[in-house]
Symmetry: C2
Subunit: 700 residues, 2 copies
């Protein structure tokens, strides 16, 4: 047999080692003998949450490995709604444009309900995304493409590669090492599966039924109606008695992005808390042949007595239908929460009953599955800020609202930069506590939203005002409209913490002055309006100036610089920021460019031609010996030649006669709003968690 | 030696063939013995013009080969301005977004001139692109990236691949076959060069001067100051006496996109007519270190007595400087039109003198070159509509206006679909005559523009109103502003022809009624405003509905469909278009979808919710057995949820109470404007050059 010694990263020495194969039945014996691989972060699971994290850590240069038990990525079906906020995040990594281009855009939601004669009618239309809430609108794109964007991004910006068909089998945690963030408290044994073990049991063959309908693949194996197969995989692999593909990893951090059946969560003994319901839904991704008028709109359709359908139009002429299944006793044999009776034909027939008198059929089905509605949240998200859980490992719910993948990716978008800053020694470990405080609340909000939404959607429409068991269609539409802000992802509002200085005294002595920028809400993501580059007049959305590079940003809105007093205050701030002992310099490693940890960006109130960049203090447009002046740090709120006026000061609620400064986290959430020139408070905020670099290193 | 028999496309049999090498000194002997490769189109030259054509023909499924004598593509320098119109064309092929994202956008032009004391001052600012002229603005991006977009596009959409290091060495034309467009009148012998022969003599090594300035590469070898090396390449290859890489190609069409020294042009005996001047210019692509305030703007700088500089800010912090060289006798040794004295240092020193008192230096130079201003146009663009010349092969001029690459790509954008339609048998050969009539006029306009522009730019500024030898700076700025429409590429207005039915009787009996759509000019490209998809409310720029697929489009603007009379007229048109013997059906091969040669798109005047797609005649949203109804053909001029109101009817100058129809060529130029329901005139227009498909083939 082939025996690999791991831990020697670039050289893998292979022995023919037949004799020992008898006594090496259990791989931890071998792990103990080979040198372990020391890494900063080990990610289990390469779905959207895991890939987001690997991508983030790759951008920040953190030594990361990511493994997934499946041997190949997903090609059909799965989650596919993208929130406005998710697109903003994609844009911060440079690939929102691709998602925007390939996806189907959802503009309008139509409500269909029985009229007084019980006949299906369009009862209302609302915009799918609340106008003005974001520069993106909600879109739909196959999860496989989204994973591809991450994989391409990871490949372009790091040397991380997803290790597929690799399963964690043992975990231990050394409590004694937990407090030292330079140490490795985590040990995980990884086993590489054979190709056939790693292949998902998804039926990949094309299937054509006697009706001429064609089906590509089903997703039941990943549905919550299916049992977890992790233990079976481990047992089968152990039985095979092959130890050639076993490895011990020592990590500073371990992140479980390994789904609803999370292996990592089970190691920690944590549980998901909540309930499931009896509602069973089917999902069909088809090219519809229909006379239903709104098949290319998002629709919520309640039939009088046959259940509900949600229509989600997709890319490539596909439409996804979420269809409430009302199986007869005959069809199910009484086994309601069992998937065996669910087929594309059963789902289609349910849809046909609900859509009557409109016709629905298909010849091409891209994917289908079934699921049972339920809502659960993890009781704990972290073990001593060294092991974290994210995504479906800590929240599961129904898919119809298009939230799951988004909230999962946003979990690790929240976590990634914090881990990177601790690993790189910029921040102390205290910032990691905010992961659970910030994200568990979001998970609770999510299942509350989903619970309410699912109940309204699965219920029978009320026949009249006295029908108390039925769901009022007015209430349903109102809930839908209200849910739209939540569903956009832009409503997320992180509570007070060391990273979020709200207006009360939650953050030591640092208190935001929200009245200085009434459109900038501390704890929420920085809203985006257009501003012009001072040097070349090009319009940019402010968020485009905040790419996910791991940097903090100090946004200075000085106001009108033609006002001598304003110019003076701005000049004073520039002098302090530019000083050799400024907090920016103290928290930045001396060998790195001055803008690599905290970047200063200015947006003045204009007009653009009233000032020259050269007249501003160097701190606002730093000079480099080889590259000259920096022309990409000073912007202005002014009329553009081709894209109108962003009205940024007005929309941010900043008085051009007074100004304001804003501290924005590396994930674009607002930490602090204060006086434009309040250097001391800015310094105080960062001193709460950042580590002085000049004292520990003297490279300069 | 290795001997390859060509013409067997998938199998290349190689012999060891030492004995024959003595008698096979001249490769045409060998060509005569091997079976020739029969193809539709052979393109010589894989610069932007050649790649545009290969891309077009690839999309249309035409059997094409493209060869280039250079062994590798361009990596630095070269032309890099992209007109609005070029971006529109890129968008029609699906990659404008990439160019838009990677490029530097040019928003403003600043004029710098000596004031009364002779000191350099900013004397004016104008927008670089006239607002409203296009949905894109002029941008700058390295030619290598543009070639990459084409190469990726060609790879994705066809099986064409650029054959590099391949040189045509012999050409013959069989006049007797010229009239039959199914025959192959063209014979070309191709020779594959060795790697070292094909390598351009560009100095690719990094060079660091004693001043610490770093230079990557120079482009003098491709400058018009350098001699052509094609003959040397052929002679050297012949001397080597290797016949292993020689091949005979028989083609229906041959296109010379092989630059100012075009080998194809020389075979035809055609010449470039025009003059060159004594003006010598240098070009530097540098990361500038300067206190000049407008270094990130496009600037036209006239010094009092040291010549002129044009500043073109680029991507990746680079700036391109076009610098008028005023070499002293000492520097040149009197050899003014000789490149030997041109170095980056000489060019930099000229720039420093012109920019005084501002400082300019660099440590990084990406590329540099020099050129002599001149303007020339080919006397003929075509041999019997079987051999065509395009790009620099038929027009050369100075590069500063950023026009050359654009006009070259637009040459072949004009030609590509015409060749494709003749090859595929959709059209008779007569449409090919319009290539020369349309594009030679553009070339003449271009050199006229360049001549005027260069003279104004190279001249010394007038000291005062009496200084007649000097150039008036007011005249210069006025010329610049006027030139801006020309420079956008949107002013192109093709004259009357079989493809362009203007308002006079130029096109047989088909006469456009321009008053029906005063914003749609026959002969110019279809302008673009936003409209909404009827089925899902998504906003699209109208041009996005006209991708370069090779299809003609009939755009029907019926007006207000709630008006019964309008609905009746629209219904009548739908009935005629949908009939089995309609011109659309007659000119489309029976085996192909009904929209594959002429696509019908509708834009009604709204409101969107006033109609249901299902109520419109099927001709406007065709039904397919497997795919259901077509939801991507009917649009509306209405308010969008997030992107405002396109006001398309108002901007196209169409009265919603009356309507209009527009025939748009596959290259987005307008052929005809007429009554919305004038089926007979539409049919008459297409009958002028299209071939009936049902009579010749009976596949149905």
């Amino acid at each position: 047999m082939v025996f690999t010694i791991w831990g020697l990263k670039s050289i893998q020495i292979r022995f023919k080692f037949d004799f020992f194969s008898f006594c090496l039945e259990r791989f931890h014996i071998m792990s103990a003998t080979a040198a372990p691989d020391y890494i900063d972060v080990l990610i289990i699971g390469a779905g959207p949450a895991g890939l987001m994290l690997a991508n983030w850590l790759g951008r920040c240069g953190v030594k990361t490995r990511i493994v997934d038990k499946r041997g190949s990525k997903i090609y059909n079906g799965q989650a596919d709604g993208l929130q406005c906020r998710t697109l903003e995040i994609f844009d911060s990594f440079g690939f929102a444009d691709q998602a925007w281009k390939e996806s189907n855009h959802m503009l309008e939601i139509c409500f269909w309900n029985p009229d007084e004669q019980g006949r299906l009618r369009r009862s209302g239309r609302i915009p799918d995304t609340i106008p003005g809430i974001s520069r993106f609108q909600q879109v739909v794109l196959h999860q496989g493409r989204i994973e591809r964007f991450f994989l391409d991004s990871i490949k372009e910006h790091s040397d991380i590669s997803v290790e597929r068909g690799v399963l964690p089998t043992e975990f231990s945690f050394d409590d004694a090492k937990a407090a030292d963030f330079e140490d490795y408290p985590i040990s995980v044994t990884l086993r590489t599966l054979s190709e056939e073990e790693a292949a998902p049991p998804q039926q990949q063959q094309h299937h054509r039924s006697s009706t001429g309908r064609e089906t590509v693949s089903d997703g039941l194996f990943r549905s919550n109606l299916a049992a977890d197969d992790t233990n079976e995989l481990i047992q089968a692999a152990e039985k095979r008695n092959r130890v050639d593909q076993v490895e011990l990893v020592k990590a500073k951090f371990l992140i479980g992005c390994d789904g609803a059946h999370s292996w990592v969560r089970r190691q920690l003994g944590y549980v998901l808390e909540g309930d499931s319901t009896d509602y069973i839904w089917g999902v069909l991704d088809i090219i519809p042949i229909t006379d239903f008028p709104d098949i290319r709109q998002r629709c919520a359709i309640h039939s009088a007595s046959h259940g509900s359908v949600m229509v989600i139009p997709r890319e490539n002429k596909l439409v996804r239908l979420y269809i409430q299944l009302q199986a007869t006793e005959h069809e199910t044999g009484g086994r309601k929460a069992d998937r065996s009776w669910i087929t594309p034909e059963v789902i289609l027939q349910s849809a046909q009953r609900i859509l009557h008198p409109y016709k629905l059929d298909y010849t091409y089905c891209d994917w289908w599955t079934g699921y049972q509605i339920g809502q659960r949240v993890g009781n704990e998200f972290s073990l001593k800020e060294r092991v974290f859980l994210a995504g479906d490992a800590v929240h599961t719910h129904s898919p119809k609202a298009g939230q799951g993948m988004n909230v999962s990716m946003q979990d690790t978008y929240n976590l990634g930069w914090k881990i990177a800053h601790v690993v790189k020694g910029y921040s102390d470990g205290s910032i990691l506590k905010t992961y659970q405080t910030e994200r568990r609340q979001i998970a609770l909000d999510l299942i509350e939203f989903d619970h309410r939404f699912s109940r309204l959607f699965s219920g029978r429409p009320a026949k009249d005002i006295l029908d108390e068991e039925g769901v009022s269609m007015e209430e349903f539409q109102a809930a839908f409209e209200k849910g739209n802000e939540f569903a956009s992802g832009t409503a997320v509002d992180y509570g007070p913490s060391i990273l979020v200085a709200k207006t009360d005294k939650s953050h030591e002595n640092i208190v935001s002055k929200s009245n200085l920028a009434t459109g900038v809400l501390v704890g929420k993501r920085m809203p985006s309006f257009k501003v012009l580059n001072q040097s070349d007049a090009r319009p940019w959305h402010l968020q485009e100036l905040l790419p996910s590079t791991g940097r903090w940003r100090l946004l200075v809105f000085p106001g009108d610089l033609t006002n001598p007093e304003t110019k003076q205050r701005f000049g004073n701030l520039g002098e302090k920021l530019g000083a050799r002992d400024s907090f920016i310099r103290r928290f930045t490693p001396p060998s790195q460019p001055v803008d690599s940890v905290i970047e200063v960006l200015t947006v003045h109130a204009g007009p653009r031609i009233s000032i020259e960049l050269q007249d501003l203090p160097a701190a606002f447009h730093p000079y480099d010996e080889k590259l000259g002046w920096d022309y990409w740090k000073v912007f202005v709120d002014d009329q553009s030649y081709h894209e109108g006026h962003g009205q940024a000061y007005a929309k941010y609620g900043i008085n051009p006669a007074h100004g304001a400064s804003v501290i924005v986290r590396p994930d674009q959430y607002v930490s602090w709003v204060g006086e434009m020139d309040n250097y001391e408070e800015m310094a105080g905020f960062f001193s709460g968690f950042m580590k002085e670099q000049t004292n520990t290193k003297s490279e300069e």
